[in-house]
Symmetry: C2
Subunit: 275 residues, 2 copies
């Protein structure tokens, strides 16, 4: 084992959504040191253009590289769908997104090969999941639907309101009509709506959450690259671009467990500074 | 008249919402040159903290100052509620927000002095409207409610869905129970939900839209400061921080009229640059 193994793993997302990925990694790989960055000042990413998402993602990754991370996880479907080639050409540590792990898992779970994907408008329009499946399982039938209000409903903590059921019914009906047997929750916020989504889709549809499969994919990559950590150096570190207190309280509600100290991150911008 | 009069007026918002203010100004003051900036890469502001809103607002204002504007309008309730003292201490042209004009108008319209205010969470929590009324009409009774999902519903163009009525009913019921006779639409997105809001509140409640009253306040300030323009130099200019095409099509739908060429704005950030 060399010293690289003891370096932290960097995880970033536009906000709190990536904490679902963080939690699964912490559970599966307790000997890794973790640094989490939430770009809460500029959240959400899912309604923005590819060039803006690429720029924000690179600024997030640069911040993590300054903390000497050995690997970076884009714990955000929108970034994973739109910015991976751009990120890969600009950073020089291994990079993992959440799309391929979820697609691999869906291929394992489906019996009929009829798979649904829900996500932000940017993720769905990118057709990133369709591209992933075309390599993994070309015969699969993929049906996707953008559910843009889901993120807002989760952020409002409206996870059991009758309006949430009604909106979910509207978004999910076309997928239900396609007789899918597996549905990828292609946004890190959506696991918080699992009860609503499962109720509408019915018990026969298997829901795939990218958090679990990303943690498993990470474990495999660490082993392959000989980067597995062997000793946790203490508490994970949390950074955000908006106020730490907000993230802490929203994140604790989101995760259902305590988040230690959260620090303010000053990202280095690609644009010019004031004179 | 000096040359300052022919300089443009700068208008900014976090996104397309401020176009309602832009449209009223263009209608009332056709001899003014207008520059509009929408910070679409970082929209929304209404869910973020005061320090972040102040920083973003100053960066927006600096961009307009580089275009040699004679006056700046914060066409965004969130900025007007949270960042005006900060902006005023940093910029040296007259500055106008949308809160005081709406409050003045509400005082003129109310018979009972029972006035409601709806807005983003940041606006409502700032109590900026309450502060404005405490100077204008200390005896008025002000009742406010945050309606965070309204912005998302408007941006999804869900202005007549049954879920929108249901959500609006939930948000507005407490204000209806207070027997208000006047309701300020304290977010530039909300005029797009006027039909829904009016239906729920009933015809006896007068809705106040800050766009109209801000245009009237602007006319007065220009006269007082001897800054009134006398000749329009041509089309207004539109700048955004995310992709121009998106803003153009969303903005045209929002305004119900054609928007000429939209340009990409590169804001100067207060934070450090890449080396």
């Amino acid at each position: 084992m060399n010293t690289t193994n003891s370096k932290p793993i960097g995880i970033f997302d536009s906000g709190i959504g990536g904490l679902t990925v963080f939690a699964q990694i912490q559970k599966l790989l307790p000997l890794e040191n973790l640094i989490y960055l939430g770009d809460t000042a500029r959240v959400p990413y899912g309604t923005k253009s590819q060039s803006t998402i690429e720029r924000f993602a690179l600024e997030d990754a640069h911040f993590l590289l300054q903390h000497d991370v050995k690997l970076i996880i884009a714990a955000c479907n929108t970034v994973s769908a739109l910015a991976m080639p751009y990120l890969k050409s600009h950073i020089h540590v291994p990079l993992l997104g959440v799309i391929e792990p979820a697609a691999v898992k869906a291929c394992e779970e489906t019996s009929t090969g009829r798979i649904g994907v829900i996500g932000t408008r940017a993720t769905v329009e990118s057709r990133a999941y369709e591209k992933a499946f075309s390599l993994l399982s070309p015969s699969a039938n993929i049906f996707s639907a953008a559910c843009p209000l889901f993120v807002n409903l989760v952020e409002e903590n409206w996870t059991d309101e009758k309006e949430t059921y009604s909106i979910a019914e509207k978004y999910l009906r076309p997928l239900k009509d396609r007789n899918i047997d597996t549905l990828i929750l292609g946004c890190t916020h959506y696991p918080l709506l699992e009860t609503v989504i499962q109720k509408i889709m019915g018990d026969s549809v298997r829901l795939i959450d990218s958090a679990c499969s990303t943690a498993l994919a990470l474990k495999k990559i660490l082993a392959e690259e000989n980067l597995t950590g062997t000793q946790s150096g203490g508490s994970p570190q949390f950074f955000v671009t908006d106020e730490p207190e907000r993230f802490q309280s929203a994140g604790e509600k989101f995760l259902g467990k305590r988040i230690p100290k959260v620090q303010k991150a000053a990202l280095e911008m690609e644009e010019r500074t004031f004179p």
